[in-house]
């Protein structure tokens, strides 16, 4: 029988709070982190964002380390979340037996945005920033901080990145390659992403409205979340917050940026995850949807949910109305929300929803609900047709 994978700790930082406690308070009090950009210098300031209103000095203080000019914002966010996760897990003295999978899409983009051109012209003054341009940087700095040496790697699959990090950490434990894994992801707000999504004409001018008929695009966000996963027999008497009980990753093989309009890609991902958990669709109590607020994603995901669950649709919501879309960090952040849902018996509302989509009859939860939650299904779909679904269960 395959080993069970338990979650013994988690940590998060986003526009709705630093740490689990602040995050939970924001979720229950409907406090969205979406607003006008304040730190990022961009001429696209008319677009709302979900920014963490703390500069690098502040982030370094929150991370509990001296500020260094080679530290990227992505790394600092990641370290803050990872430290909370490891502390919660009680694994501080056990890090040498841990592996790590980090994830990011933009890496140290605040550094590359500032210094790349100058370095390209041969200006060597800032060459110490170069390592931060690479995806590996933030993972390795976090691994170094904890003394993690083996099974260290980074996944970069656009918006499904940290969901994949969680899935593959769980797989490594189940395969017996590792006993415990620190898994998650981090991305910072950047002119790169904002301009990229603006060029694709999918930035929301009003703030994202997931699953609403008048939805008009994404709201870029930032943040980080990490989980500590352990094999059941490694946990002892420490607290378990949930189990990674199912997962899947598929590819739409359709288009670089758009999902299959009929939802078959998302349907495949959800179905395979249910299969891997050996459960029926009816056993899911809550779906934390990818729900980015784009015309394309929400329609295809809505159709997929309808096809999978039919008349037995569980409560579902997108939490991106709170956090914006934090890209690589989305999967891990939403994993934290899934665990909060399970541990507190809460379903978080889908903010900014008024009218259901014309094409498909699905209506998300719009008020905070209290009820026992045993199993949560969480979707993360990314550019390149990458679809990942995770299932978390109460233990």
């Amino acid at each position: 029988m395959a080993r069970r994978v338990f979650i013994t700790g988690f940590g998060i930082i986003s526009a709705i709070g630093n740490g689990v406690e602040e995050t939970l308070a924001s979720l229950t009090e409907r406090k969205s982190g979406i607003g006008q950009v304040s730190f990022l210098k961009t001429s696209l300031s008319c677009f709302p964002v979900a920014e963490i209103r703390t500069d690098s000095d502040g982030l370094a203080r929150l991370a509990g380390i001296p500020l260094s000019p080679v530290h990227s914002r992505t790394f600092l966010l990641g370290l803050i979340a990872a430290r909370e996760a490891v502390r919660m897990s009680g694994c501080e003295g056990l890090c040498s037996s841990m592996g790590m999978i980090g994830s990011t899409t933009v890496a140290g983009i605040d550094q590359s945005d500032r210094y790349y051109r100058r370095l390209l012209c041969g200006e060597a003054t800032h060459k110490d920033k170069i390592p931060s341009f690479e995806c590996a940087d933030s993972t390795e700095l976090i691994a170094d901080f904890f003394g993690i040496t083996h099974h260290v790697t980074t996944i970069s699959t656009a918006c499904s990145s940290s969901a994949n990090a969680i899935m593959n950490g769980a797989r490594m434990i189940k395969c017996g390659v590792a006993d415990r894994m620190l898994v998650g992801g981090s991305d910072s707000l950047s002119r790169f992403s904002m301009n990229g999504f603006n060029a694709l004409e999918i930035l929301s001018p009003t703030g994202c409205r997931p699953f609403d008929n008048d939805r008009n695009g994404i709201t870029p966000g930032e943040g980080a979340a990490f989980l500590v996963l352990e094999a059941e027999e490694m946990v002892g008497s420490r607290t378990v917050y949930g189990e990674v009980s199912g997962y899947s990753n598929c590819n739409e093989a359709f288009h670089q940026t758009a999902s299959l309009p009929d939802g078959t890609g998302a349907f495949l991902s959800i179905s395979k995850a249910l299969q891997s958990a050996s459960i029926e669709a009816s056993e899911i109590d809550y779906v934390n949807a990818h729900g980015t607020g784009t015309k394309v994603n929400d329609l295809s995901e809505g159709r997929a949910l309808k096809t999978v669950f039919g008349k037995e649709m569980p409560l579902f919501s997108s939490t991106k109305g709170y956090t914006g879309h934090p890209f690589a960090a989305a999967g891990a952040m939403e994993a934290v929300f899934s665990l909060l849902s399970i541990n507190h018996g809460l379903v978080f509302p889908n903010l900014a929803f008024e009218t259901k989509m014309e094409e498909v009859d699905v209506v998300p939860v719009t008020q905070l609900c209290r009820r026992p939650i045993r199993r949560v299904l969480s979707n993360s779909f990314g550019f390149g047709g990458t679809d990942t679904t995770l299932i978390f269960s109460k233990v």
């Binding site: 060029a199 694709l200 004409e201 288009h255 940026t257 758009a258």
Partner: protein
């Protein structure tokens, strides 16, 4: 060659360049053939690139998705729009 035909030839070259249609020459593009689905078989990302072409080269920006689809039907419909906006370069 009429002004419209001249503009069409110019547009064909610009389209080939903007969309990196390496093996295609202006002579291969039928001015009245559909640009999308059939004909050149362009997709939604190409549509964004063509709108950028209109904006950068002719100062024309169209927000309405329905109007965009109409304008981007063929090279000729693009040329007619440019002429109607008085944006043809002398």
């Amino acid at each position: 060659m009429s002004k419209e035909e001249e503009l069409i030839e110019e547009l064909k070259t610009q389209i080939i360049d903007a969309l990196s249609l390496e093996d295609i020459t202006p002579a291969d593009i039928d001015a009245d053939a559909p640009l999308f689905v059939e004909g050149l078989g362009l997709d939604s990302i190409d549509a964004i690139e063509l709108m950028l072409l209109l904006e950068r080269n002719y100062g024309i920006r169209i927000e309405d998705p329905k109007k965009r689809r109409e304008v981007l039907t063929s090279v000729r419909t693009m040329a007619k729009l440019i002429e109607s906006k008085g944006q043809v370069k002398e």
